[in-house]
Symmetry: D3
Subunit: 242 residues, 6 copies
């Protein structure tokens, strides 16, 4: 699920991941922000992310991926459903922690830095986070011609490695897709052999791994919210699973 009203395309690009055991569908928000660049945006995306998660489980989905590095409404969605829900931000950070000693996140805007630092603390990974570096490109400006974004990303990655001690790079926006291997090549030319993580495909395969091994998030830790009046919102009801 893409938690914006803008119809960023992921499933199409990632169709190659599909196989006998993995089918992808993608949805967007019918209400909420056009892009997510603040805690304000995350919050306004939340109600519809949750509703969409419930609809997905009711429609028979085996797992849900929220395709935004801010992981909007990740915990409320886990409270709402019983199938695994992964956010690409949390998943990327955990893989980054496994692939090296310290990772840096390259995010879109300066205003997101503190937010990712806080999220690393929530995930318990603050000691593995070398830095968060912005490249100063608004989400909706990433597109068509990637060359400017690419240059800034490679420079920011190199600075994160040399100055901040990172040995893994995380792309801090789901929209930087297709740049990961190109960046790895350009960094290797500078003598910096580090993995660059583009989280959406990795998170999709991890969600599939959870479904395959019949694991899901802890309902003890993310218990279903008690029924009560929540006026002003039409929240779909989760169907009993057979």
């Amino acid at each position: 699920m893409v938690p914006t009203t803008t119809k960023f395309e992921f499933a199409g690009v990632l169709r190659h991941l599909e196989g006998p055991d993995l089918k992808l569908t993608q949805s967007h928000l019918s209400r909420g922000p056009a892009s997510i660049e603040s805690e304000f945006d995350e919050m306004f995306a939340g109600p519809e992310v949750v509703a969409e998660a419930i609809r997905a489980e009711n429609a028979g989905a085996d797992a849900i991926v929220i395709v935004c590095m801010g992981d909007p409404a990740l915990h409320p969605a886990r409270e709402a459903v019983t199938i695994p829900v992964l956010g690409i931000g949390e998943t990327a950070m955990h893989y980054a922690a496994m692939l090296g000693h310290k990772f840096s996140i390259l995010c879109t805007l300066d205003r997101r830095v503190a937010n990712y630092e806080t999220k690393a603390r929530i995930f318990g990974l603050e000691s593995k986070l070398a830095s968060v570096r912005p490249v100063n490109i608004p989400v909706l400006d990433i597109g068509g011609d990637h060359s400017t974004a690419l240059d800034r990303l490679v420079d920011a990655a190199a600075a994160a490695i040399v100055e901040d001690g990172a040995d893994v790079i995380v792309l801090g926006c789901g929209c930087f897709q297709d740049m990961d291997r190109i960046m790895e090549g350009q960094l290797r030319e500078r003598g910096l052999a580090v993995p660059v993580i583009d989280s959406p495909p990795l998170t999709i395969l991890s969600a599939a791994a959870l479904a395959r091994t019949r694991l899901t998030h802890s309902k003890h830790g993310y218990p279903t919210p008690p029924a009560k009046e929540r006026s002003g919102y039409e929240i779909p009801t989760l169907k009993e699973r057979g």
Copy 2:
């Protein structure tokens, strides 16, 4: 502001705090949850908390207090307005950290424990948190007769002090009002001389202190969200202040 559609009464109870320099007004949510007992509820409270914060600043308020220990939408509200916004959860934890070596929070339900532990981490206070202990009373059941709640709170507080090493107790729901001094007395009879913090009055006075000294939250840290399409919500516009 009370971030629920249930009209819990605080301003009336706290009228005695008013004076030449402090006037209180109270608002509730026109849409959102009846009470806040999950991250799901916090999220559904969020959009209206933010809208209400903008309305308050536009109406000339000098500071805003969100009267819920979960501090719903605290950061988005700070992004949205320029006057100080305090949550009673964050404020209580910081005062608790100042009044002793370690504090415990007595919360309503078992399901809130992890949430308060995470919030302590976000506030940077995890090393000062001795424990979070639930008393297993839903918010909407606190009321009329407080004697059962009081007994459970005193027992939980004593356990937090003796077993978990707390020397300060934080009441984990804004609705436990008026029990703080009674609890202190009963704990003192057990040989446990600890402060019990009921956060709403303390947070109101702290917000007044910020307004009085002309301090507010960092707009560098909580920058105003850029204008963009956020469909499905009518978000009031912040007026320019003269």
Copy 3:
């Protein structure tokens, strides 16, 4: 209370905070250091700070503020008395933690840096501390003409924000008074909208808030020292409160 033998003037400057509910008195040390710039100085200030605290409670004070960022004898004073004792260092750091994501302290001398870092750890706030930056002005040289101090403070604040990631600035000496709003203005001109905390007035209002809500530090956590021989010091006796 100002924990030096030098008669820095605070109560006069802060007279405007007084009102029907708040009266200020100020005392200095009859023995101890002329200014506090080392752990050595903090220690030599200690015995008289504690004696003065006991005298203040005996004289009917409702709360005590130690007006030195080093918070000398804060814990011994809490052990000695039952009315709330706040230090301007601890209080400033907690408010700074609430007003942004990370704060920096601008201190007088290079030799104080490690001391503030250690204090942030004791308060449990090390993860919120971006940096401590000295401006290299001895306390007793701050005075009359503030322009040099102001320039250095603004430059250090800007560096803390841009290089260290701070979004809140704490003035690291009680003597930098009246510079907070001027600094905010100069920083805003550089595009850096951050609060600058001058702790004395904020701490006084917080102490008043504690007194108003009848809260004090934990006597379980700061128990009264047992009577015993302590030769060479005349320590006043705390009177029973009616």
Copy 4:
């Protein structure tokens, strides 16, 4: 790869994970300990784990999984090869951190507790670790009849949840296979709805995900050891990959 000379069987049991994109092979150590129950054992397993990893890469493997919760020689193996190397201990802990707020590890022997706590610190996950609880069964005694082990594991899991605050359980030995879903059922009957992670299948699918997305560990962080004399060991040479 199973890092023991005992031929524990994993690939056979996990054959069902295979598909068009995933083929499993399994190897054991020709020299080293019969089982791993100390840092002493981990160390004696190390040289052959590394040699075996180099042989696997030379034989065309796309990824390597070390099937022992102690992750013996994980870092040296990463230094030695360029294909991804995952340990089931590290991978289980990261997934556990994603599926709940805090996890507990159920390990074989009391003597392993400190070791897993240290490993959690190395992985940066100490704040997510609720506890490590031993069930006091030597590895080589797990086998045939699982009923005793199962009872102890369920009791230890329940204690970890209720007393230590865990909401995710990690099986602390690769040999506890096939017990995960049974344990989940028995815990659910006690009102404890938590995921139980048996790491080998999950780690295999994660290693496949890395291979599929062409990610590997950081060679900047795990650089190839410089050639030098290392007498007494015959270490295979890594072939250049085309």
Copy 5:
């Protein structure tokens, strides 16, 4: 140096440590508390500890040990002199961290628990501290007949090992001397093979090791306090060393 006016005897008991390279002298305070059981006591011991340290360096001492687990005035003394100054509390905790995975401190009174926890944080060792357990014996009551103290210490040590996960025990008062090996024997009979650290002899040998290798504390980190008026105290002047 023993930082109390009570003349506890250490040098006599530890005379066996002397040799060609090590001579011991012992001093007590001429003014200050009879024993140290609060931060209040630590503070009143401070001025004379510092004066005594300066006198010791002037008299040609090669190193100073402050024989009190509270390490009163450790940092001010380091600021004042140039020869190494060790406290038995800090030294014991660092050796304890080296001899096992986690240590517990057995202290005299309940009121000292928070103080040792805070000191562990200052030393950077909080993650190695399993617990602080009081045995509830005032310092001045330790003496003549040690059997009650011994029983309580062994019971507290056993609880620290079994319940808190300690594998090293630190005696939390310099007066528990001669009990360390007896306790080790009694704990071994309970199946608990842990070292029990009585800090004074170990700290004396460590101070001698520093003197022998011509190391001392960092004067960059503990700079000499600038000359200034410090009224009411006669502080000896440090002589220039040739």
Copy 6:
């Protein structure tokens, strides 16, 4: 014990430490790496370090020092023997933590940085570590003419102090011997009065202090490995001590 096959000379250089209570012997590895510059090397040193430790205890040694900053096989060796085993890396870091507020390690190669950071975490000292700075000299190239190494070490130390906030310097290789006091002098000329720790002599004296006070590592924490088949290695058997 020097954990390499290269016969670095320490005992000869340190002969001056000997006395009536201290005799030194030195051994090297008969199999293993020529020098230790990776976790790969540490692992290949391990089996013989452990065997050599057992031989030393059987030969009547009172304590063992592993003379390599990487502390290879430190924990397995402690599991294997009952006499104290110290590593110069761990010991240096603990003394460094005692002699100042923050320390930096000057290591040989860039590739060792992450390893020392991880070790500081394992020792619980991460908050005391200012930085690890490489001087880019392979171990086997340190020798004969020390002037290049000395210049780089002094520059790196100065940078660590001024830029990273260190006030203690740890030499990150046992082979930088005899440079400590020269470095201190050159740093003092730059106005930087910090101790420079060359760990081997200090660790030897600390091991002697443990032996003298009859302390050793916790066998509860480092239990003797259970007997089992460990094929391919001839591990000596520890004799019973009378």
